[in-house]
């Protein structure tokens, strides 16, 4: 298996480069997905979306970022200042951390942990701590309800997410993310090279739904629910702190799409069994393919947002505990049986 391109000497240089790359990927990913959301959503609603910034609004998100920077940072008097100030950071950092283990191409990962998938899911779950902190510290009833809804949502949806991923881990026999991609590369279904997503269609569906819920993306955006809770935990936030929450949402879309790409869609290979050229060309191609898959998945998330109304909190919980989790357990049983059988 390829080693990371960041396995450099001396160590401080490698660390510096890794940190920079993680930040850059985080920002670029969030901005690209953000732009995608702006445009796809707009066209689905029979409008054009941003058109002015540079060309067809491609400069819109950087411009928004600049604007957010200039805004006054307001902290409500009754707020718990420390927790309030810290919450956006807590929401953002896990995203950057998870980027570290995601493979974006052959050798294009910052570090290959043996328990990569475990680390990614665990770290991305920390994001909700930011939601909860923000909701609690804002001294606003709407924020509090948003924070609590967010926490309830995380508890019930981390489970199907992990169950869906666990089935893939059983199939691939490894917890390492590049390892899963390589294992998938060699996977055949009745002799035909196949991505995991097709036999594991249940797992893919579970993972996607649970990912939406974990990200608080519509139709599961109850913690934000702008028409009920007025953006929930973000109600009291202004300027850059608010931008951090938005950034973490878009980065979350990138991260979970990337995870789904690795687990179900064959990672950086165009199709299992179809190889990539060696060296730098392969890396670039692999990166492009991975990113294309991520964008397609993100576009589907946007598509769902454009079409569906929001569910209700109790309906969401019922869906999780009485449908998704039993289905996830059943999926594991099926996969394990099939794995032993064949």
């Amino acid at each position: 298996m390829a080693t990371s391109v960041f396995a450099l000497e001396p160590l401080w240089l490698a660390l510096l480069l890794q940190a920079l790359a993680a930040l850059l990927l985080f920002l670029i990913g969030a901005v690209v997905v953000g732009y995608l959301e702006h445009k796809v959503l707009a066209h689905m609603q029979d409008r054009l979306g941003p058109m002015e910034a540079i060309w067809h609004g491609i400069g819109q998100l950087p411009a928004d970022g600049l604007k957010f920077l200039q805004k006054e940072d307001i902290i409500p008097t009754a707020a718990d200042r420390w927790v309030f100030a810290l919450a956006p950071a807590v929401a953002v950092v896990p995203g950057v951390v998870v980027i570290a283990v995601l493979p974006f191409g052959p050798g294009l990962w910052l570090t290959d942990l043996d328990a990569g998938i475990f680390f990614a899911l665990a770290a991305s779950g920390v994001t909700v701590l930011g939601t909860l902190m923000a909701g609690w510290s804002s001294a606003n009833k709407f924020s509090l309800m948003g924070g609590l809804r967010g926490a309830a949502q995380l508890i019930s949806y981390e489970l199907p997410l992990v169950l869906a991923a666990a089935a893939i881990v059983i199939q691939a026999g490894t917890l390492s993310l590049p390892g899963i991609v390589e294992a998938q590369h060699g996977f055949t279904l009745f002799g035909v090279p196949m991505i995991y997503g097709i036999p594991h269609i249940i797992g893919l569906g579970l993972f996607f739904v649970a990912a939406l819920a974990e990200l608080s993306r519509p139709p599961f955006d109850m913690p934000i629910a702008d028409s009920e809770l007025i953006a929930g935990h973000m109600t009291e936030y202004t300027g850059m702190r608010y931008a951090f929450f938005m950034l973490s949402e878009y980065a979350g879309m990138v991260i979970l799409s990337a995870l789904a790409t690795v687990l179900f869609l064959g990672g950086w290979y165009p199709w299992p069994g179809v190889g990539l050229p060696e060296g730098a060309a392969g890396m670039v191609l692999g990166f492009v393919i991975t990113f294309a898959k991520i964008l397609v998945l993100s576009a589907i998330m946007v598509w769902l947002r454009a079409t569906f109304p929001r569910m209700r909190e109790d309906q969401l919980q019922r869906l999780s505990w009485s449908v998704l989790i039993p289905l996830g357990l059943l999926n594991i049983v099926l996969v394990a049986t099939a794995k032993v059988w064949f």
């Binding site: 609603q45 718990d80 079409t307 569906f308 109304p309």
Partner: protein, 393 residues
């Protein structure tokens, strides 16, 4: 948060810095507190400045009380110092989504006091405009209801249609929202050439677009889960509160002024009143969509039957209603509008009292809210159909 009252024998868990957490365990159970929450006056779900004070137990609403009056502009008092033409310009503005229907009501009241016969053509055009206004209004609520449930697309679709309709209404009236097209004794001026063609075309487009809304929302399982059985209103409760319009029709009562007390030329037209029976949010929404179709039917009948002739009567320079009083009912998009006009023979009314549908509709809301979830409150407020300006006047 609110202060925690120490209960005897209770254990108060330590809370956040500077305050006690509102969690208390007593007799082995968790003691919870009700939370008081102000929805509004600035809240996206109240479209305007309605304030609903609710007491929450978790996410369940225990008590709800709408507080109205934030948008009171003293319309009835203002009307006492305005002549009738000025009142028509004002009455446009209290329910900005039913502008034409409102000005029609005032004009009808004055005409009835003066015992005026309005030219035939003017009456037909009044019906045409009323029905287009009804569609405009319903489109707005279709869009905003979707938006409140979290579906962000319907509002853009419905505003696309609204734009088109407003554009050709503007060619006749000069206004997009505040038409000011009715005058005592007829209309301001006749339709411009090409108006009827635009109207015909739009009616055909609107029919297909109406199916798109059904496709986008009605069949959607999430939409059904959010609205079916939510905020079910019983017909007797609705009648007790004086609820009218689509909200009433959804409960199965087919009271409609256009049928029960026809004005203009509604008695010559085939007026269909769509009715549903469950009275829940879903039915209220379906009634809205069906009413658009029914209005389109009426519009097509007007296209067929519009007679030639003048749209105006020769009126004196200052219109003075003779001494007396009258009460005119009209079927406004949101329900029954009533106009009680008392004149002492001067050029301004002595008293102008309005019955607005939104006011009655909003009174009924606590009945539906109590016991429902916070999320359902949005589905209920979005489907009871009120305009805050119409509530407060």
């Amino acid at each position: 948060m609110s202060e925690t009252l120490p209960h005897e024998g209770g254990v108060i868990l330590p809370g956040g810095p500077g305050e006690a957490m509102s969690v208390e365990i007593r007799d082995g159970g968790l003691v919870t507190q009700e939370m008081n929450l102000n929805i509004g006056p600035q809240h996206p779900a109240t479209h305007g400045v309605l304030r609903v004070v609710i007491d929450l137990d978790g996410e369940v609403i225990v008590r709800a009380r709408p507080v109205i009056g934030y948008m009171h502009r003293g319309f009835e008092k203002l009307a006492e110092a305005r002549d009738y033409r000025q009142i028509i310009a004002l009455v446009n503005r209290h329910d900005w989504l039913s502008a034409f229907c409102n000005e029609l009501g005032v004009a009808l009241a004055v005409e009835r006091l003066m015992e005026l016969e309005v030219p035939e053509r003017a009456q037909w055009i009044r019906v045409l405009m009323s029905e287009w206004n009804r569609i405009l209004n319903h489109l707005m609520f279709i869009g905003s209801f979707g938006l409140e449930l979290g579906a962000i697309t319907p509002v853009f679709f419905s505003f696309r249609e609204r734009e088109d309709i407003q554009s050709f209404l503007e060619s006749a009236t000069g206004g997009r929202l505040h038409f000011t097209y009715t005058r005592v004794g007829g209309l301001k001026e006749d339709l411009p050439a090409g108006f009827l063609d635009a109207s015909r075309q739009m009616a055909a487009t609107m029919r297909s677009r109406n199916d798109e809304y059904r496709q986008l929302l009605l069949g959607n399982e999430i939409f059904q889960a959010r609205t079916k059985g939510v905020g079910a209103l019983a017909p007797d409760v609705a009648v007790d509160y004086g609820v009218t319009g689509p909200t009433l029709h959804a409960t199965g009562v087919a009271e409609d002024v256009r049928l029960s007390e026809p004005y203009c030329v509604y008695d010559e037209l085939d007026v269909k009143v769509p009715v549903r029976t469950n009275g829940d949010s879903y039915d209220r929404f379906v009634v809205l969509l069906d009413r658009i179709d029914a209005s389109l039917d009426l519009i097509e009948q007007v296209h067929e039957g519009l007679p030639a002739g003048p749209v105006n009567r020769k009126m004196p320079k200052t219109v003075k209603a003779p001494e007396g009083a009258t009460y005119v009912r009209t079927e406004n998009p949101l329900g029954q509008g009533g106009y009680y006009l008392v004149s002492d023979g001067g050029k301004t009314p002595w008293r102008m009292r309005m019955r607005t549908p939104s006011f009655s509709n909003i009174q009924m809301v606590p009945e539906l809210l109590e016991g429902s979830l916070l999320s359902d409150m949005i589905a209920i407020l979005g489907s009871v159909y009120f305009v805050v300006g119409d509530v407060d006047r």
